[in-house]
């Protein structure tokens, strides 16, 4: 909250002096530090926050959490984003279609919609479809056409691709739409879950998509401060594929290695954003290679060799093998991420924790967020709040069926 206050003060100061108000990311530390005005110099000493915000909340007993809670969590960290991207993912939001794949789509124009539907009909039966309901929010501009579909795989499709699982078929269709149909983008493709994202501050995006009208047992959210890719709708977080959804704060140095590794397994990285690669790495390791999530995390953020050397022979062999097999999957560079799936969520940072992540427990609620203030805004007195160690996964799993 203190950050917000200083931002306000800066704006007041600018109005008072007749200066142009510049957005946060354009503030020039150097000129402010060397300003003749003591007030400006003081402002410069206060940290100007940067980097994305991430947040996640779940109830281990499956109690439905209203969308307002996740909005409350993410909007406190307003200053960590710059209005160029915000988004939410909720699990358990479509109980009437719990066993159908739900595709959320963004279309740039209606021809893309027609083409995409043709492509989907080749493999799926469309059992429901509608425009995703939205509310006019004047800051949310350049809106694509937003549509959702509930899909079932046709029996003939299973026969044709007899070597593939249902999830593999869905992934194939998603990759095809994203790669070959211009102006169409699959935002999420899981069961009983959906991703709502766009360009704007997260609280604006929440209002736009009417996130507060949904109830979910797991929510994750993201406020974006893009550095690599321009703020476009598809590039906002969360990223979704099948039942996975992920929000990420960071920029990975290993992107080129990870990308080429994933391409060997048939993934098509279209978004030019490193965060997309991480989602696919989880899909590869946890779904296709069948690694438990904590072990997938140990492959993505492996222990240092010097730590492996200190382990028992059994553990040493385990982590050594894992690291040798999955060297190209290591996520290197500043990262904090939350990965959600129908049965829980996982928080993970890079091996030297160059981006923040805080975890908390309150009753059956579990929280993950970039900043503690976000958790306390929704839950003032959690039973336990801690800062997970670098590279160590924080795994929260549902307790009931």
């Amino acid at each position: 909250m203190r950050m917000r206050y200083s931002w306000l003060r800066y704006r007041l100061f600018c109005v008072y002096r007749g200066h142009e108000i510049r957005p946060y990311y354009m503030l020039n530390y150097y000129s402010m530090n060397n300003s003749t005005s003591p007030r400006v110099r003081k402002l410069a000493r206060e940290r100007i926050p940067s980097g994305c915000s991430i947040a996640g909340i779940m109830d281990v007993n499956g109690v439905v959490i209203p969308g307002s809670e996740i909005v409350g969590l993410i909007e406190v960290m307003h200053d960590r984003s710059n209005g160029l991207g915000g988004g939410f993912a909720g699990y358990g939001i479509y109980p009437r279609h719990a066993n159908d794949y739900c595709f959320h789509l963004m279309y740039d124009y209606s021809e893309a919609k027609q083409q995409t539907e043709n492509a989907m009909e080749k493999c799926f039966e469309i059992v429901g479809e509608e425009e995703i309901p939205t509310t006019p929010v004047k800051e949310v501009v350049k809106r694509p056409i937003l549509w959702r579909y509930f899909l079932r795989i046709c029996p003939e499709t299973r026969e044709r691709y007899y070597e593939m699982s249902d999830d593999d078929i869905v992934m194939m269709v998603v990759m095809e739409i994203n790669e070959f149909i211009e102006g169409a983008f699959v935002v999420s493709s899981g069961k009983n879950m959906g991703v709502f994202k766009g360009v704007g501050y997260p609280e604006q995006i929440a209002r736009f998509y009417r996130v507060e009208e949904y109830g979910a047992h797991i929510w994750i959210a993201h406020g974006r401060f893009p550095t690599n890719t321009p703020g476009w709708w598809g590039g906002a977080h969360p990223f979704g594929l099948l039942d996975w959804a992920m929000v990420h704060n960071g920029e990975i140095s290993s992107y080129g290695t990870n990308k080429r590794y994933l391409e060997e397994f048939g993934y098509r990285l279209m978004l030019q954003t490193d965060s997309e690669a991480i989602l696919y790495l989880f899909d590869l390791l946890a779904r296709r290679h069948g690694l438990p999530l904590d072990i997938a995390c140990a492959a993505l953020a492996p222990p240092l060799w010097e730590r492996i050397a200190e382990m028992t022979p059994h553990e040493k062999n385990f982590y050594r093998t894992l690291r040798i097999v999955y060297g190209s999957a290591m996520i290197n560079g500043p990262s904090a991420l939350i990965l959600a799936h129908p049965r829980g969520m996982v928080g993970l940072t890079d091996r030297i924790k160059l981006r923040p992540l805080i975890a908390a427990v309150a009753g059956s609620r579990r929280f993950l967020a970039s900043e503690e203030c976000a958790i306390r805004a929704v839950c003032p007195e959690p039973e336990r709040v801690w800062s997970p160690a670098a590279g160590e996964p924080t795994v929260f799993t549902m307790e009931q069926g």
């Binding site: 240092l304 560079g333 500043p334």
Partner: protein, 505 residues
Amino acid sequence: MKSFIQPEFQIVRDDDRCIHCEVCVRQCAFESHSYDPSDGKVSTDNLRCVGCQRCATLCPTQALVVKEHPREYRGNAYWTPRTIEEIYKQAETGGLLLSGMGSDMPHKLYWDNLLLDASQVTNPSIDPLREPMELKTFLGRKPRAARLSRRGPAVALETVLAPQLELEVPILFSAMSYGAISYNTCLALAGAARECSILYNTGEGGLHKDLYRFGKNTIVQVASGRFGVHKDYLEAGAAIEIKIGQGAKPGIGGHLPGEKVDQAISETRMIPEGTDALSPAPHHDIYSIEDLAQLIAALKETTRYRKPIIVKVAAVHNVAAIASGMVRAGADIIAIDGFRGGTGAAPTRIRDNVGLPIALALAAVDSRLRQEGIRNEASIIAGGGIRNSADVVKAIALGADAVYIATAALIAMGCHMCQRCYTGKCNWGIATQDPYLVKRLNPEIATRRLANLIRAWSLEIKELLGGMGANAIESLRGNRLRLRGIGLSKEELDILGVKPAGESL
């Protein structure tokens, strides 16, 4: 026949400084310097000088300068002095021209046309002096996925890895045979490999019995001549390398002249003393890819599947497809030796006109193996002209798992690149078997110099890696997004899989 050849070098002696101590006379095995007792003066014969700088380096009064001879033919951009003199030599001898070391032709230097990335603002660079920075590298076949079995909440590892070579730094000393280089040089390479926890390679000349103790840090080579190959030899090393070809002379075998085959070499190579050691151009049991598969299988069987098998080829035009075949034939590691790779002796025409620059060959091989989905089945070692740590980093970013260095290692020990290794008269005691010359290379000092080189490069690799915001070498491997090409054509950029400088992500 009067020779038309003029001296290549000019030895300039400062008479005010020269004390006629005869150091230069004793140091020059090519007999460029001579002492005339009648007038107590040292005189020089420029024609004999090979430009190895031994005399100038050791002269106690710095009285000597060895410089290029200004033999001024009439200026001609086409018929250069080198071209003209090569014709004189052939006209006078009727022989093919020989050279030592890698090609010195002014072809494009791809490493110098690639620039590395660094992190700024959005991604912090990592300081290797304050943070861990991991260069540890494993070479060998890797499974596509780790398999686990679950017993209740406990998880057990099912995957058993194929044998791996563990390196502290992704650098190995490339193959140089005992015979081509002296015993002391072999000993220094082995000692440095042990000290740095890396590996050296015996080359095709077998393994001297006193060097078996360095087995853990040794790659034993099986080449077309099969010199010194027997069961204990195969068991002695950490890995076995089948040498198909060599970057300096793709398509041809080797020739160690009989004069160099003394008793120790004859024992090690298992050939009679004083006979020429001729390794055939092809392996006469490998005329096709399935023959290679058989030899790989035989070597694995012999060593009970405990050692990875490396197959080394020269970088030739179709290297990507050849490499793919090698992996499918069972090679655990493939070594690709580029156009600039060194040699003890190669026909000059072959050295300077056959092969591919390693950067292009490496990029093509890595891309091909990935397209086929078999990149995990073999590691790639790139060699042939790796000059410094930046070349190492660029090679790894293009897709290599590790690099082979040999010329750089020889230079570290004292080689001055005179390219006369095939004469057996190496004044620096490296590429010679003459006992008088061999003892010039002190193996302990040479070990130290090599270990220093590896240490220095590893520090630089850590700095470059940290600058790119990564703290493990795995994250650089095949990461071509951290490279940009400068002054390269579109086609070259496409083959390298690299974007032009100035283009962002």
